[in-house]
């Protein structure tokens, strides 16, 4: 089992509903976020392109945050999901420095926090909160080992890319382009 997410940049309008839904689902304090939206513009008027991406922890196969964690708080569970155990976390911030995606932040309660792929929902057969609310239906989630999962089907039929492949982290959030 390997959970992954694919996000269709051709459909995303950058509304940031994924950000608010994550906040209300996971009680992320206002002022912080586990996911965010990036817009990049290329070209000059009127030859222009925009890519809009909803970004979050990439739940990497080769996760630098897990390797550098001195207490084992950052760990990987079934399905390849990277989690932070807030009890074991001493808030040193090594993982924040190590992450090439800037996906982690210091929670006001003193530990590091980030996207969990909403594993508490996934275990119940639901999609992560961000995926489930997206008005453009531009996010697909599921098990890469299952060829019939939404994410497998999306990756089988579309061109895609990952962020910072040069970092060698083997990220598991894919962008359909």
């Amino acid at each position: 089992m390997r959970y992954a997410m694919a996000i269709d940049t051709k459909k995303c309008v950058g509304c940031s509903d994924c950000v608010v839904a994550c906040q209300t689902e996971n009680n992320v304090p206002v002022g912080y976020c586990r996911d965010w939206v990036v817009e990049s513009v290329a070209g000059s008027y009127p030859q222009l392109e925009i890519e809009i991406r909803s970004e979050r922890c990439n739940h990497c196969d080769n996760a630098p945050c897990v390797r550098c964690c001195p207490t084992g708080a950052s760990h990987i569970v079934d399905g390849g999901v990277v989690l932070v155990d807030p009890v074991k976390c001493i808030g040193c911030g090594a993982c924040i420095e190590a992450c090439p995606y800037d996906a982690r932040y210091s929670h006001p309660d003193g530990h590091v926090d980030k996207c969990t792929f909403c594993i508490h929902r996934v275990e119940k057969g639901q999609d992560p909160a961000c995926v489930s609310v997206c008005p453009t239906n531009c996010m697909y989630f599921g098990d890469l080992d299952n060829p019939n999962s939404d994410v497998s089907k999306a990756l089988a039929t579309r061109k895609y890319k990952v962020l910072a492949p040069e970092a060698g982290t083997k990220p598991q959030v894919y962008y359909l382009v």
């Binding site: 509304c15 940031s16 209300t24 009680n27 008027y45 155990d85 453009t136």
Partner: protein, 750 residues
């Protein structure tokens, strides 16, 4: 005439009784809820306990949803109702962030009454009893002295229905919503003149099944009109062609196969050239036009010289692009939508531009066809029994003799103008009730709005938040948010008729009350008890629901209920006989109605004013995370976007030496300067002859602790208004701004 001097009072002047209770954070969740089952945190994930049906009130799309509460009975999240065609279970960021409206500690908390103390005006807290008695006393006096007709109601949102019922029973029909004259009015009148029917809300656009969607200035995806955003996304998946006409590279433009970066204010020329190509190349739906339309010959003659080459000189869009896009539309016909837009009050000839859009749709046979415009139905809910309304002796139209005969709705600016004493006017408005609309931001020409307010005998405002308009009120009545109240049922037109229920998930916070209670209480004080014979709104709703075969009990469980269509005519115009509600009984390409009122029966291109050197046309629009100016203080949504910025092309930035994120003031063609500075955003996404900003920022009320002084108000810059002669709409896109880069104007951003 008595003049009421009305100082703007900032509600922060209220005494300590108005202290915020603070944002109620979610309490400690039970131990088993931590990520690893052990962790206790003040920010643990909430334990969901109950859910209550609602429909969203953050915008007019009104998506049905569930409000979830935790084990402390506190609201934690709002999730779309899967059965609702408005949202398909997926709310937009504002709907998801609607929790912030409830949690906002800056809300209005107690009724407030304007008093004078030591020569200074301020608000004093009052009981509901006292405040309602005062309002009723003032209204009764008004009725005696000037007649009930001299009261006007401005309203926006679901609660407006109850307030309308109250004022109609009182004896006035001057009930206006800025959503007509400042927004969608021209398209309704333009489409009605063509098809005998309006576009409605939600729009009857069949985007789901379209093969070609043409957007003219409409920025779907930045406006989160949820159903349309979802259907456009669907259409992208299915490979539909999208053509976007916009001087700005909007999000929609970036999703389009064709982006036409048109010179601002020249859309009419493009539309006429498209019509020319469609007619002269014989691309129109001949059977459809023959059977259903009137006036093809006159139209053909009219657009004879309006070639793509002619339009090129006006619009800067190359002739072959005009032709190619016309061919795309024709290839998709009838599954093509030239979108009517929503906020279409631009240049004062907006009804005529909407007519051109309607005509183009007619030529392509998209009205009443799959993938074009469907024929919606809604549930006809009976009104709770009540006496007939008194017939007013005068109406707002008496202030404008001979004008606006084609207008069915009330012009908010018309009410505003007729509130300013004028010896030539037959009729004057003397008092306003303002429900849920911040008129200082929603009407253009702030100076006139303020002049009207200063001349009123009485102004009562009902709202959830302190907004600029509340600062001018004599009495403020604090309403509870939509998450804390019942409201009227949502019965909106759609492919299939649905009803949606809104019920409270929690008790009203502070000393706030729902609109129905306020209306009923005022009614009983005005001797209108007979109009409010229900004990409470549960009884009212249950009565209505039982009449259509449901009940309040059932709706509480399901939130939304689908009803069968009465007629099987979702797509009615595939050769069936049909009589349109126009003079000729046909689709009027040539409008006999406009002709009889002395207006152009066929749309013409008019040249609009261009910016002077050093000035740039002010375009404005929406961001997906905000609605009008009403969400600017919402903690969840300000977290996403807490101020607007002004978009400028890099060429313009280099002329002015502007830097990204630099603060400037804007000054318009009439010398008006923004109250607050606004950040510069240098981007290739905007033409060099215009600037763009998101509407709804630059709030001047200090009580809005998150919104105060953040960004600039586009409304402040809109002092030049082009009135649409057909329907009185206020064209707002002939305003031009320049930059004041030295912040010599004293900053007041405390």
């Amino acid at each position: 005439m008595k003049k009421t001097r009305r100082d703007f009072i900032k509600i922060s002047a209220v005494g300590s009784g108005g202290l915020a209770l603070g944002l109620s954070t979610i309490k400690i969740a039970n131990a088993s809820d931590g990520e690893n089952g052990l962790f206790k945190s003040s920010h643990a994930r909430p334990v969901l306990q109950n859910r209550y049906p609602t429909y969203c009130e953050v915008c007019f799309w009104k998506c049905a949803a569930w409000t979830y509460t935790d084990d402390n009975g506190e609201i934690v999240k709002i999730i779309g109702n899967d059965e609702d065609p408005h949202c398909e279970g997926r709310l937009c960021p504002r709907g998801t962030g609607g929790v912030g409206m409830y949690h906002d500690e800056d809300r209005l908390k107690k009724p407030l009454i304007r008093v004078e103390k030591d020569g200074k005006q301020e608000f004093r807290e009052a009981s509901w009893e006292e405040a309602l008695d005062l309002v009723a006393g003032k209204l009764n006096k008004l009725k005696e002295e000037h007649g009930a007709e001299s009261l006007a109601l401005f309203s926006h949102g679901s609660g407006g229905k109850m307030m309308s019922h109250l004022v109609k029973a009182f004896g006035t029909t001057s009930i206006a919503a800025p959503s007509f004259a400042q927004c969608r009015g021209p398209r309704e009148v333009g489409f009605a003149a063509t098809f005998g029917e309006t576009v409605l809300s939600p729009e009857r656009t069949d985007i789901r099944d379209t093969r070609c969607l043409v957007l003219i200035g409409s920025h779907i995806g930045e406006n989160m009109h949820n159903g349309q955003v979802q259907e456009m996304s669907d259409a992208i998946d299915k490979g539909a062609t999208i053509i976007t006409v916009d001087p700005r590279f909007s999000t929609a433009a970036s999703k389009s196969q064709y982006w036409l970066p048109i010179k601002p204010a020249t859309d009419m020329a493009l539309l006429l050239a498209w019509i020319h190509v469609i007619i002269y190349e014989g691309l129109y739906d001949k059977d459809y036009i023959e059977k259903y339309a009137y006036g093809l010959d006159q139209l053909k003659q009219h657009v004879k010289n309006m070639t793509p080459e002619w339009a090129y000189g006006i619009t800067t869009i190359e002739p072959d692009v005009i032709r190619k896009t016309a061919h795309e539309m024709a290839a998709a016909s009838p599954a093509v939508i030239i979108h009517p837009g929503r906020h279409v009050t631009w240049y004062g000839d907006d009804t005529q531009r909407s007519r051109a859009i309607a005509i183009l749709n007619a030529l392509l046979g998209s009205w009443g066809r799959r993938g074009g415009f469907y024929n919606p139905e809604k549930v006809n809910l009976p009104d709770y029994p009540s006496p007939g309304y008194p017939k007013p002796k005068r109406t707002w139209k008496d202030a404008f003799p001979g004008q606006y005969k084609l207008v069915d709705e009330v012009l908010s600016t018309g009410i505003c103008y007729s509130s300013i004493p004028n010896p030539d006017m037959e009729f004057n408005i003397k008092a306003w009730m303002v429900y849920g609309t911040n008129l200082l931001a929603s009407l253009p020409e702030q100076e006139k709005t303020i002049e009207a307010i200063q001349n009123l005998d009485f102004l009562v405002v009902i709202d959830t938040m302190p907004m600029e308009i509340t600062g001018y009120a004599d009495v403020i009545l604090p309403e509870c948010t939509y998450l804390e109240r019942y409201d009227i049922l949502r019965a909106s037109p759609h492919r299939e008729p649905y009803l949606a229920l809104r019920m409270p998930a929690v008790k009203p916070k502070y000393d706030s009350k729902p609109n129905w209670w306020i209306a009923k209480e005022l009614g009983s004080r005005l001797g209108l008890e007979d109009y409010f014979k229900w004990e409470n709104i549960e009884e009212y709703l249950d009565w209505q629901l039982k009449k259509v075969g449901s009940s309040l009990e059932e709706m509480k469980k399901i939130g939304i209920k689908k009803f069968p269509r009465e007629y099987e005519d979702l797509y009615a115009l595939n050769g069936e006989d049909f009589e349109f509600n126009t003079n000729t009984g046909k689709i009027e390409l040539y409008s006999t109605e406009l002709a009889s009122e002395g207006f152009d029966p066929l749309p013409k291109y008019t040249h609009h004013r261009e910016p002077d050197p050093g000035y740039y046309r002010l375009n404005y629009g929406r961001a997906p995370m905000h609605t009008f100016s009403r969400t600017a203080n919402n903690p969840n949504l300000t977290d996403l976007m807490d101020e607007n910025n002004v978009w400028v092309n890099p060429k313009v930035a280099s002329i002015w030496g502007l830097k990204n994120d630099q603060y400037v003031y804007l000054k318009n063609q009439d010398g008006v300067v923004t109250s607050f500075p606004v950040k510069i955003r240098i981007t290739e996404r905007i033409r060099w002859d215009s600037v763009y900003m998101v509407h709804g920022f630059g709030h001047a009320d200090k009580k809005l602790t998150r919104a105060y002084g953040k960004g600039a108000s586009d409304s402040e810059m809109i002092t030049n208004v082009k009135i649409d002669p057909v329907m009185g709409g206020t064209g707002m896109r002939e305003n031009f701004v320049t930059f004041i880069t030295e912040l010599e104007k004293k900053e007041d951003r405390s």
